[in-house]
């Protein structure tokens, strides 16, 4: 038990050290909120076809030099045979800009975790079946993006839903506009 606690403690230290080391070299903190729209395209469907859906959402985050942290919440609606679903997708992401940045374009890569929460209405008129169900699926994601003129943010993210029974992967294409809260 002591060994486990020791490992957890070491893990915490490593995590904090990692965040701290990432922050070293940062120039300034830039906090922002970002309303955004996009499209979500499920792939690798196993059981039921879904079309691409429109997505709206918002994010809060900040950049510290080449490193960025962001938490966000997106919403989309999807419909399949007998089922209509409203989904919300909270995400937590870390971004990093490995490439040379210019004043106009700042490319970055991004990775993180999310939790797909679905609220579905099942309607089968033939059998008078009307039901509401909800479920949550953990996902991990990675993607690429770029901020243009320090304001417009475009991003393509691939999400893997390892425990999903149906959609194993989905792509999200987003376009947002950053509103900076402060600049220390």
């Amino acid at each position: 038990m002591k060994k486990l606690e020791s490992i957890i403690k070491k893990g915490k230290i490593i995590a904090l050290a990692g965040i701290a080391s990432l922050a070293i070299g940062c120039a300034s903190l830039k906090h922002y909120v970002e309303p955004r729209v996009g499209a979500i395209v499920p792939v690798a469907e196993k059981e039921q076809d879904y079309k691409p859906s429109l997505l709206i959402g918002g994010a809060y985050g900040f950049n510290a030099g080449k490193i960025g942290f962001e938490t966000s919440l997106d919403y989309f609606h999807s419909s399949g045979e007998y089922i209509q679903t409203d989904s919300i997708l909270p995400r937590f992401n870390v971004s990093y800009s490995p490439l040379k940045q210019t004043a106009k374009v700042k490319p970055y890569i991004i990775a993180g975790a999310n939790l797909l929460s679905e609220f579905s209405a099942i309607d089968i008129p033939e059998f008078d079946v009307h039901d509401k169900v909800s479920n949550t699926t953990l996902g991990v994601e990675a993607g690429i993006g770029a901020t243009i003129l320090d304001r417009i943010n475009s991003r393509l993210v691939c999400t893997w839903l390892p425990t999903s029974e149906n959609v194993k992967n989905m792509f999200t294409l987003m376009l947002g506009y950053r509103l900076y809260l402060d600049q220390n």
């Binding site: 904090l16 039921q48 900040f62 419909s79 909270p90 609220f119 089968i124 425990t163």
Partner: protein, 689 residues
């Protein structure tokens, strides 16, 4: 300004990161508890645009000069003396700079507003028009009326045409079974034409597009074959981009005659070629008077990559896309022929190899001796050779009546190939009318049961807004007993269908997937008659096979079923056919508009028209009616209702209830409330309800 590396800021970053992570976790908790649960909203599917064929809009077919006499077929001007092997003389005017003209780009839809009234701002000297004359004859109601009607119609057309000199009106087609003609009118003479007392309406002639993407068992056509009904004796007119009649599944016909001397000549493209490739090879053989090349093989990505044959002046006279072996090009005058390979930005293939050249001619002998495609006409190039230089028409035709490696819906039906669309899928309205008119005119010669058009203008129309331009020719077909099936269009509209599918006597066809779900691209609306499989349909293309999706693919399924029904019941009317297809189809719900449309079922339709209770067990069983299946509770799956057809196919046939228990596995997901459970999935989870 930067904050440097102070520990204060590092702490700040760590604090904010932890705070954000806390927010993230909080959101997860609240969502999991259903805090944000909302009521369902109606579906708002993203509409993905159809394949962009706008590149077709600045083309124009050649126009015949002067009035001439007789039908359009008498005005043929063969461009190159036909082709050998798989393709022949198909000069796509899109690709021929000499014959290209600009067409207004703003609206390619036919609307009743396109009846020409105000051309003040139009800068063209000549306006392409379709002229409809006032009816002064009795309606054509049967095939016996045709010859008499032709004489009267042609005389009325000539009467109006005689009021314009040759430079005022350049005639393109005179129709035979409807009262009208088409051509180019000098802008200054347009008003005179409109005011002519014999003229009912003048429409602007515009380009429409071909509507582009295991279905035979789905519509139970194979069950109909098992009854010996395979479309034998039925003939279907395919009004499209032509048909590759050399395809092994479409008759493998080779109606060409080569005369002259053949010499060996070796020329090959790079193998494989590269993306974004555009190179022209020139073959010059001094002393040749007519020259053609023989391809040992052509393998280029279907639809996206092309091999063009050009003359010495760089005019394109023929195009190939797809896969061919042992094929001659057209023979062109002179000693020089050019081969141009143009590829797109992705997917390469082997390329081509030339092994011979011909100093001589390749004559098209006609399709009369062919087994599958028995006649046709090319209204794009104005000759008798309707070879497909696009592939769309070949795909459509394979769905109707392929009989080889693949089998179409009516494998023993014959085809008439009417080419009205050019190499890139552009189709002039005037040519479409001419195509249907040609089929009407041939109804006395062939047992034409259906004319199928997988063509649309991209518009969204209801009953009041639907253009009337093709009504006359479709109505005539209808009166002659020919069903006209037309694609509803691929624009994803749920409140209207395109033109000419909206024409009152057309059978409009939308698309479903093989899972019997509405295809995302299909146009539907209150005018839509039926649905048929149109997603990922595997059928013939020039030299091979490919998957395509679209209402274009759904439409020939219906034409094929009509060929089957007309074999069984030759005198059934188009109205009855439409009613039968609608009433016997499997209901499919369109969540976009709340409407339900019937997906065709060949066997059920046959049973309906036959007054025979059943042809097979599947006529009696529960396969097609989800609600009639039942099982017992407690996961004991027995006592399914299984009906058996007794005395199948006879007037004394009847369905009886069999009590034979079925296997447990019949209810895949278990039993509930006396019925099998249904599996329904959202993204993350599947439910069994």
């Amino acid at each position: 300004m930067g904050v440097g590396y102070s520990s204060k800021n590092i702490k700040k970053i760590i604090t904010i990161s932890l705070l954000m992570f806390f927010v993230f976790i909080s959101i997860i908790f609240t969502t999991y508890l259903g805090f944000f649960q909302q009521k369902s909203v109606s579906s708002h599917a993203i509409i993905i645009p159809n394949l962009d064929l706008d590149k077709t809009t600045n083309s124009s077919p050649e126009f015949s000069e002067g009035f001439g006499v007789g039908s359009s077929s008498s005005r043929g001007s063969s461009s190159g003396g036909g082709g050998g092997g798989s393709s022949s003389s198909h000069s796509s005017s899109n690709n021929n700079n000499l014959n290209t003209e600009k067409v207004p780009q703003n609206n390619l839809s036919f609307t009743n507003d396109s009846i020409l009234k105000n051309l003040t701002n139009d800068k063209r000297d000549y306006i392409p028009v379709i002229v409809m004359l006032k009816d002064q004859i009795a309606e054509i109601t049967n095939k016996n009326d045709l010859s008499k009607a032709r004489l009267i119609i042609n005389s009325q057309e000539d009467k109006v045409l005689s009021e314009f000199n040759k430079s005022e009106f350049l005639l393109k087609h005179k129709y035979n079974t409807i009262n009208g003609f088409t051509g180019k009118i000098k802008k200054e003479s347009l008003e005179e034409l409109r005011q002519n007392p014999n003229v009912k309406a003048v429409y602007e002639d515009r380009l429409l597009n071909v509507t582009l993407m295991d279905s035979v068992p789905l519509i139970n056509a194979d069950d109909v074959w098992n009854l010996g009904i395979t479309g034998n004796g039925s003939v279907v007119c395919v009004v499209d981009t032509g048909i590759d009649y050399t395809h092994s599944d479409l008759g493998a016909c080779n109606p060409f005659n080569l005369t002259g001397n053949i010499i060996l000549y070796s020329l090959e493209s790079p193998h494989p070629y590269t993306d974004n490739y555009d190179y022209t090879w020139t073959i010059t053989q001094p002393g040749f008077s007519q020259i053609a090349v023989h391809f040992l093989n052509i393998s280029v990505e279907y639809y996206w990559d092309y091999v063009y044959i050009m003359n010495a002046s760089n005019n394109i006279v023929q195009s190939f896309t797809g896969y061919y072996t042992d094929v001659w090009s057209v023979s062109i005058p002179g000693d020089t022929i050019k081969i141009r390979l143009v590829t797109d930005y992705s997917i390469t293939d082997w390329g081509f190899a030339v092994d011979k050249v011909l100093n001589g001619t390749i004559t098209f002998l006609g399709l009369q001796d062919c087994k599958k495609v028995i006649n046709g006409y090319d209204f794009v190039n104005l000759d008798n050779d309707p070879m497909d230089d696009n592939g769309h028409g070949t795909h459509v035709s394979g769905i109707v009546a392929a009989n080889g490696t693949l089998k179409g819906v009516a494998p023993d039906a014959k085809l008439l190939a009417i080419k009205v669309c050019d190499a890139v899928g552009g189709c002039w309205g005037s040519d479409m009318i001419a195509g249907v008119d040609w089929c009407n005119n041939k109804s006395g010669t062939y047992n034409i049961v259906a004319t199928t058009m997988s063509i649309g203008d991209g518009g969204s129309y209801n009953r009041t807004t639907c253009p009337t331009l093709m009504d006359d020719v479709i109505n005539t077909a209808h009166d002659l007993g020919i069903s006209v099936t037309v694609a509803s269009g691929n624009e994803g509209y749920s409140n209207g269908i395109s033109y000419p599918a909206c024409s009152p006597n057309a059978i409009s066809v939308g698309s479903t997937t093989k899972s019997d779900i509405i295809s995302w691209f299909t146009n539907t609306g209150s005018l839509l008659d039926v649905l048929a499989p149109g997603s990922s349909i595997y059928s013939t293309i020039p030299g091979g096979y490919d998957y395509l999706s679209g209402t274009s693919m759904a439409t020939p399924h219906v034409a094929g079923v009509i060929a089957l029904l007309k074999q069984y019941s030759p005198f059934i009317s188009p109205d009855r056919i439409r009613t039968v297809l609608k009433t016997t189809g499997i209901p499919i719900y369109d969540s976009r508009n709340g409407l339900t449309f019937p997906r065709i079922d060949a066997l059920a339709a046959l049973r309906n028209i036959s007054n025979v209770a059943c042809f097979s067990n599947s006529n009696c069983g529960t396969d097609y009616s989800f609600g009639s299946q039942f099982c017992q509770s407690d996961n004991v799956y027995k006592n399914w209702v299984v009906y058996t057809c007794n005395n199948p196919g006879t007037n004394s046939s009847y369905c009886s209830d069999s009590t034979a228990p079925k296997l447990k596995e019949e209810c895949e997901y278990g039993c509930t409330d006396g019925r099998c459970k249904i599996k329904v999935c959202n993204y993350g989870k599947c439910y069994y309800v």
